[in-house]
Assembly symmetry: C2
Homo-oligomer: 346 residues x 2
DNA sequence: CTGAAAGCGCTAACAA
DNA sequence: TTGTTAGCGCTTTCAG
């Protein structure tokens, strides 16, 4: 019995007070005599007491945990799960999300519970987990445009916040970036440094962010007198960036500037340019997007449009927290402004 | 009231049986009449019942959750936490760990709770969280050799399993790779393809795995008649791999083979070699370690020594699970065998 | 094979 | 300001 973890009762006994008083001290409820407070603290110290989370959750109806769910496409078979997890985590983006989320959660003694939802069944599982109270709500990072999870969550009335505006409207809060503004920043920077034959490598065009970045870039270029911009579509990966660059180069050998919709593709573009004996930035200036770790890892270091992912992720956590606590009623969206980071590539 | 989640009692009422019976059906306890079983199932369906996790945990004293803790060095200040999370997640290795862990956990309706322990305070927090029952045990991935967390966990008697053998002995289970065997594979492959002036780029030598890989490589080379192997130390990153390669090249311009202690450094080495106009593999053969996503992403694709990270991570989860369930008493270690993966670079 | 009842450890009315 | 008490929703003896 002495091997069992001490309970509130044990501490109360040790301190010579009631359970309720100890509970008050622990939860920082006012109206507790400072002297008693000290006595209780010492008793807690002596007994090595740690409040049982399950018991607390049972009465507060809150788990102090949020699901961080990586949500995929329509129906990835179970077997490919490995690939999904590996790919997502390999992307420096996700690390920044985790970082931001933990930054908000940790000071509040909350934790993220990791979940994947890449198939019909696993999505159902996420809903069940939430209904069971495994987590108080979900932070959803979708890897595909047509992710059905947000709608499911909304229909079930479960608290959730999304990263990026969903392709079809859903009554859920989300955080997003002013992608158009970011692309405008890129266009203006390339033009300012004297580039005149500028192309762009887009992300997958079924992703809203990709379309926004392209639209913003084109708009600004047109407004500045360059209505025609060569475009190649990539897939946000190094490889596709490299291929897209090859394609652009063979069509327009005289290019002197490229805007890639993310850093990984910009890096791929740099590789291709080097292989084609183009110097970056003197022959061709390259500008990326995100300011991910790839940007500084790239040689030359990438000039890029910074997306404040950590802050965005922290905001997600905050929105969810407020929603769970009932501080916030309606679904809200928070849009962040991008920022140009000038390094060597442009 | 009707908006409240249905409880066991509601289901029992609906099915016309007692709470206990419903509980038995849900938990698959035998001794329940098949007819009643069916009735109960239907009642569950109709009510949309989902068992409350906190309530269950309170009585079973199990959270069905394990902490996946990324544990850092001595005393990273709180502010640098971002960097830690970002760096760790950027490493493709961690994604594979998550993948393996989730692969084991999910079929058992368990989830990983993400935690970071990079300072005195956050380590204390991890211990507290575990004592509170936030998780049933910890899966620890240390990023530094002198990580104090394992010892703390062991002292507190908390269930835990480590990735890699701790530098100082600790009575905890762990999984690891036969690093020496892997290095031997690399040496033999380079020799077999005709390389005769072979060097190696090691990982940080305060990391046991780095030392093992180096020792294994040297042993095999010596045994094959090459007692002297040029060595350069790297830091498991692309940059350090590139620098190490430069150093080796300036000392030994006639090198024809390199073994790098991980893929990222091998990739860096390839970059340097290209800059120095050495063709890979015809001038210099390069072999990496891990078979991470970097290996396939690299141009040329990396020949490498595969570390079955997913399986290793799954084994960690299994060991922990068994320990929590009391199936396993003593600390155990499971050592995995590496495998050569031949691609283009050697 | 099924039901009644006793908690698991905690918080939160309500009394004092 | 403190204590008493009634549950939170579930599992699990123990009877029947």
């Amino acid at each position: 019995m002495s091997r069992d973890a001490p309970t509130l009762e044990d501490v109360a006994q040790e301190a010579g007070v009631s359970r309720a008083t100890v509970s008050r001290v622990i939860n920082g409820v006012r109206n507790v005599d400072p002297g008693i407070q000290e006595t209780v603290r010492r008793a807690i110290e002596r007994t090595g007491y740690a409040p049982n989370r399950a018991a607390r959750s049972l009465v507060t109806r809150r788990s102090q945990t949020v699901a961080l769910v990586v949500s995929g496409a329509g129906d990835t078979p179970e077997e490919v799960h490995n690939a999904v997890a590996t790919r997502v985590f390999a992307d420096p983006f996700f690390g920044r999300v985790v970082s931001g989320v933990v930054g908000y959660l940790r000071p509040r003694s909350m934790h993220p519970l990791l979940m994947f939802a890449e198939s019909e069944e696993t999505r159902r599982q996420v809903l069940t987990d939430l209904r069971q109270g495994s987590a108080d709500g979900a932070l959803v990072v979708s890897t595909h445009a047509d992710d059905p999870l947000p709608a499911l969550l909304a229909d079930a009335g479960l608290p959730a916040v999304l990263f990026a505006r969903p392709s079809r409207p859903v009554p859920l809060s989300y955080v997003d970036l002013a992608h158009r503004d970011g692309a405008a920043l890129a266009a203006d920077h390339l033009l300012a440094r004297g580039c005149r034959r500028i192309a762009t490598i887009t992300g997958p065009l079924d992703v809203a962010a990709s379309r926004e970045r392209l639209a913003g870039f084109r708009d600004t270029m047109a407004r500045r007198g360059y209505p025609y911009v060569p475009v190649a579509e990539g897939g946000f990966t190094l490889d596709t960036g490299a291929s897209a660059m090859s394609a652009l180069l063979s069509e327009h050998p005289d290019l002197d500037g490229v805007f890639a919709a993310n850093d990984l593709m910009a890096q791929g573009a740099c590789q291709t340019l080097r292989e084609h004996a183009r110097h970056v930035p003197s022959d061709v200036a390259v500008i990326g997007f995100d300011d991910s770790s790839a940007a500084v890892g790239c040689r030359p270091a990438l000039t890029t449009v910074r997306q404040p992912v950590e802050e965005m992720a922290a905001a997600m956590a905050r929105l969810l927290d407020e929603q769970v606590r009932g501080v916030r009623g309606e679904a809200t969206s928070v849009i962040f402004e991008p920022e140009l980071v000038v390094r060597e590539s442009a």
